[in-house]
Amino acid sequence: MRQQNNSRAKFLAVIFAIFGFVAIAQMLRIQYSPQAAALREQGDVYAGEYRTLYPERGQIYDRSGYLLAGNSTVYEVGVSLQDMRNPHSIALAMSAVLGLSYDEIFQYISNPPDGAVYLVLKDYVSSERAQELQATKKRLDEQYQTKGDATLAGLNFSAHLQRSYPEYELGSNVIGFVTREGRGYFGVEEKYDDLLAGVPVTVWVPQDPNRAIELPKAPKGTDLVLTIDREIQAAVEQILVEAVRETQSKSGTVIVMNPKNGEILAMVSTPQMDLNEFWTYTDTYQYASDFNRAVSTQYEPGSVIKILTMAAAIDSGVVAPGTTYLDMGYYEIGGGYIYNWDKGAWGVQDMTGCLQNSLNVCMARLASQMGTETYYTYMRRFGIGRPTGIDLAGEAVGRLKTPGDADWYEIDLATNSFGQGVAVTPLQMLTAASALANDGRMVYPHVLYGMVNNGNQYNTPTQIMGTPISPQTARTVSEMLAIGMERGESLAQVEGYRLAGKTGTAQIPTDSGYYSPDEINASFIGWGPVDNPQFMVYVWLEKPETDDWASFLATPVFKEVVEKLVVLMDIPPDVIRQQLAGPP
């Protein structure tokens, strides 16, 4: 009997052993089968996700460290369909707090697209609104636990950063803006978009905590420090807005630059916009070139260009400050006649009187005496007709017709000499004139003071664009302009400070090819103190309606700006400054 039991037990053991081996073999076969590999791959898809880490956009500061462009938290509000219990209460909350349409939201989340598990209801919701929604959700969740009332279950909040401009409109023309796609438009935001945005990093983030890794850092975008001085910018904006209003101008532009190093201290162009509401851009500007007229709009500058003609004539040896001529009130050239602004004859004039009285006949004579080659060589050296290379987006090129161009005529030599038939941007004009205020050296204008990356600061060095005239010529023309202002009792004079400057009243060409009889551009360019220039100011009022002359329109604006500048830049009156600079 025992023998028989042993045999049965052995038989059963064999059967179980066979089952065991078969089971193990099957497990191994399934484990290493192609189907298993495919399933593993499918599983890996859900084991984690590829996540793109966008670095925080670099901040923008003014030269004193005030933040001009930063970042702030906003929320994407969405709904997880599988967690949603009450679409009615979600639609109601979105309608009450965010002002969305109840019907649209209710229809959207009640009849989601096929396969959808998550729906975005609204992005870029402010922190305040999101907190309000979160508080409502919490309150309703508590009520739901006790009373079973409506709930906002399924409503999700995903935080991210958005560009924010704490100074609102201040410096808007220079800064530009960033859209919700994260792309910079205009100004510094566009020019340095790549640097500010940084480099996004895409990483595989596993859901399995056993495989959790420290995510690589997406280094923050580069911070930029601008040459703009917030206080000067604000003061100039205030003055310009008031001037545009008073003169009923279409727009206004003012640039303040340090002529020694090309740093732009302020740059304003009206109208301005609140950069936090960048979507109003199309309401504010008709053309892209309107955003910052200082660099993007070219116009016939009129008489302000006479300072370049005079500098070229003196530098080339054609005339000296004391050279005189008899002004007959007209000058014939290329089959046409050039007249003075008042159609009058000014008699015997020296070169200082020529500038002081802004005589077109004088300028036409000078250009003619220099000849086309010399004159246009000087204009090219001054950078007329080519961009300055400023580090702002959208700079216009300007236009300088030269002999050989199909639309150049001999009379253009004369008209160009007093600012007609030539187009410049305000910045081009200022850059060219920097040679006069900086001993003959033209500097590259720039708005970037420095950039800060990973704790290191790299400052922008001063770059000389060229030396179109000699230091002697520069000082001579500056002196002539200063004398002209003093003799003519210019409205631009500021007591205690010796300044050099020139007005420009320019007619505006129309599409018909003639000049508009009742529209002008009023400009003024000036710098000071003459013996040691620390600022240059360019003023342009477009189509003012209250007066016909720049000396009554743009000149007072220049004076107001200078009066603010000397205080904000700590520039003492000439007498005190010379005493301080002298030997003790």
């Binding site: 053991a13 064999v14 052993a17 066979i18 925080e56 500061y61 030269r63 004193s64 460290g65 005030y66 933040l67 930063g70 970042n71 702030s72 938290t73 922190s127 935080a159 991210h160 950063l161 924010s164 704490p166 100074e167 609102y168 201040l170 399995d208 905590p209 056993n210 495989r211 959790a212 890794i213 420290e214 995510l215 690589p216 850092k217 280094p219 923050k220 911070d223 420090v225 917030r230 206080e231 604000a234 003071y449 420095g450 800060v452 990973n454 704790g455 290191n456 600061q457 400052n459 500021v494 007591e495 205690g496 009066e563 000397v566 205080v567 700590d570 003492p572 009156p573 005190i576 301080l580």
Partner: protein, 174 residues
């Protein structure tokens, strides 16, 4: 004389033979003296205990790794939250200190903008005007902790490196 080739035993037969041998060994083991049997049982129990300890240790390490992983994920969220909060604070502070707000506050406090005529200049010995702002910082972003070699090199490599460093001449290479 005739020879008969021995038939090759089948696979099942061989498995059965091995099983029968094992059963026979087990039977013979049962016939061993009791103290020998006890030693075998103790040995078996010790092996089971060791396996259980290793399994427990593995479970503990796995659980700790999982908890740490969750903490890492939480810390990453906290880092992102802190970065956003810092950005918010900085922007809020800038808004409070903005030119517009400061001018309004100054006006409310009875201050007014200085005019050119109101300024008096005086010589202050040793005074040097500010010559530009510096944002440079020694707190540069460093390499991530897990990027350090201790976190990815093997024990042997680490020991070899430690030995190499220990045997390097003092003062380093010249």
């Amino acid at each position: 004389m005739t020879t008969t080739s021995a038939a090759k035993p089948g696979k099942t037969k061989r498995v059965f033979a091995a099983y029968a041998e094992a059963v026979q060994t087990f039977d013979s083991a049962r016939s061993m003296p009791l103290n020998v049997q006890r030693q075998w049982v103790i040995l078996f129990a010790v092996v089971i205990a060791i396996v259980a300890m290793v399994a427990g240790l593995y479970l503990d390490v796995t659980a700790r790794a999982a908890i740490t992983g969750r903490e890492i994920q939480k810390l990453e969220l906290a880092i992102a939250f802190s970065a956003r909060t810092n950005a918010d604070y900085e922007t809020d502070y800038a808004r409070l200190m903005s030119n517009q707000v400061m001018q309004a506050r100054a006006s409310q406090a009875g201050f007014e903008m200085l005019d050119r005529e109101q300024v008096d200049y005086m010589v202050v010995p040793g005074y040097l005007p500010a010559s530009g702002i510096t944002f440079a910082s020694s707190l540069a972003e460093t390499q991530s902790v897990s990027g350090a070699p201790e976190y990815h090199e093997s024990l042997l490599t680490w020991l070899a490196e430690a030995a190499r460093e220990a045997s390097a001449p003092l003062g380093g290479l010249r």
